[in-house]
Amino acid sequence: MLKTLTTDFELDLEADVLVIGGGPAGTWAAWSAASSGARVVLVDKGYCGTTGCAAASGNGVWYVPPDPEARETAKASRESLGGFLSDRSWMDRVLDQTYANVNQLAEWGYPFPTDDEGKPYRRSLQGPEYMRLMRRQIQRAGVKILDNSPALELLVDNDGAVAGATGVNRQTGEKWIVRSQSTIIATGGCAFLSKALGCNVLTGDGYLMAAEAGAEMSGMEFSNAYGISPAFSSVTKTLFYNWATFTYEDGTVIPGASSHRRSIIAETLLQQPVYAIIDKAAESMRPSMRLAQPNFFLPFDRAGIDPFTQRFPVTLRLEGTVRGTGGIRIVDESCASSVRGLYAAGDAATRELICGGFTGGGSHNAAWAISSGYWSGKSAAEYSRSLGEYKTQRLVLGVGEVGLQSGSDRSQPLATDEVIQAVQAEVFPYEKNYFRTEQGLTESLGKLNHLWQELRSSQVTSDKELIRAREAAAMVATARWMYSSAIERKETRGMHKHQDYPELDANQQHHLISGGLDQVWVKSQPLSIEKPLSKIGAAV
């Protein structure tokens, strides 16, 4: 549909670098590209500054001073949890870059607290404050921001290099096109509209757009993160459940259940409700907890519950690849994807390089968003410069299909809401996604493949529906890469729990690369990635 309207864009812009997504990864990318002299446009589905999961939630950051011992501990701490798929040289780079950039935040005026000894404490960022500051900084750097402007498809030139994107303003209906030398996907992960805190803008759009241009995914089997929240609420902040007791309805303690052993909570939830109470937090800690994470307490205060003294029902909400680790495959230290002109950062890019198959709770994710954002911005700007004036001569074409184009004349109108419910029915249930089995995965994939065909042969009847239709397509595509990869990983590693293969298998210590649209494929790849193209971005 859009494709046939290429002359019909109300807003037609040119840029050296286009950044799609304005969370931490996108804003760091935009800032570093603009700081290296590029003309940058950043588009966001929502409002850059409030949207995405960091703005709503806040982040603990993997901020470790360059002290060899502290760095060693930091690197060693997650290696086994992640199933030994991470790479120490990437960890070193991320630790260095994050340290430099978080210090930069302090220079920009982020109000970091001081600790007991009066030293600045920089391991925690309050979301609204952090992202308001990032918006201000990129505006200062000259980045042009288009809010409320989801990207719908990428543009590709004759040689297959990515050359920008098109989209629509969801409030005015105006269509936009940005022709750019290089493009960065920073659209976050995919949480399948589960209403986990801040996650409903994260529907995997960037994965779909990238795949349509030919990019590959990596680690999509590590995509089943579930966050604990009060059953009635969206607030999937999990840190304080370290001090929780989990009980059955009658108040007896559930053996073994803890925030680190969520599988026991999930198993119990399959049979009956689970309750929690934050009763292990000493009285003296409680005021500190309120000051550390004010939004953790919001739902309780509003529902009239004192979580320290009253039990409340909890649930596990799917956070998918947001706190999982899979995403677009990164081919070198510049954060390039496997397609020319296309870079990926933050949750949209695979995080296996530093976390292996497990991230779950905090700090690595925020650090990855900061550093991969920073590197992708720098390298995209460099790549754009290397193209010179080439861009103005090239012909470009939109490469989006599903949910954008009408099928044949006989195609059905697309039942978007039903498609979304159907994909949720395959990815939300713990018995399907948390506790995976060969049979369950195969059945789900059958249904998901069928949904894809349905999307393929349906027609989007109005421009208003475009955005939701593309989100639906992106979620179905994401789920297919997830489960196709999960079937291939015949073992239990990282967050991938395979009931038929409950042990870790030393012969499967590799990455699983996936891709494809009508035909999804998966192949394994040995651990070490290609060597650096150039040394980019040692420090800010």
């Binding site: 589905k45 929502g46 409002y47 500054g49 409030t50 949207t51 995405g52 703005a55 709503a56 603990g60 982020y110 109000p111 970091f112 607290p113 600790d115 007991d116 404490y121 391991r123 925690s124 960022l125 309050q126 609204p128 404050e129 809010d147 409320n148 969801r170 409030q171 209403k195 805190l197 801040g198 996650c199 409903n200 803008v201 009060p230 009635f232 609420s233 969206s234 607030v235 840190l239 304080f240 370290n242 000493a282 800690m285 005021p287 500190s288 907890m289 309120r290 000051l291 550390a292 994470q293 004010p294 939004n295 307490f297 919001l298 739902p299 309780f300 205060d301 509003r302 529902a303």
Partner: protein, 109 residues
């Protein structure tokens, strides 16, 4: 989910329309915005933070609607409570400076 746009408080600045991540509000000429797509609300509370006059209330229930009464919310101090907690708003200082995460993490060992 978002449950209230206070008619009496709203100054029709349309900031909430602009900043809601999931495009829940519609602007209306010479009137407060309407909650046009309530079921899209992701219960993120961001609109409350950005509303300059505490005219919005997001109920904690994320999957079902709740009925709220403005006068009661004011009385129990819930209207604008998130902004107050994090020190956003005129003449307030951000509580980010008072973040006590370091105290919490010390207890984690």
């Amino acid at each position: 989910m978002i449950e209230l746009v206070s008619e009496s408080r709203c100054i029709k600045c349309n900031i909430c329309v602009n900043i809601c991540p999931t495009n829940v509000f519609d602007r209306v000429a010479d009137a407060p915005p309407t909650i046009a797509r309530q079921s899209d609300c992701q219960t993120c509370y961001m609109c409350e933070l950005y509303c300059p006059v505490d005219a919005l209330y997001v109920a904690p229930e994320s999957d079902v609607t709740a009925s709220v009464n403005e006068a009661e919310l004011v009385e129990v101090g819930l209207l604008g409570s998130y902004r107050e907690n994090i020190g956003w708003g005129h003449k307030r200082t951000s509580t980010a400076k008072a973040d006590q995460t370091f105290q919490i993490l010390k207890q984690m060992k």
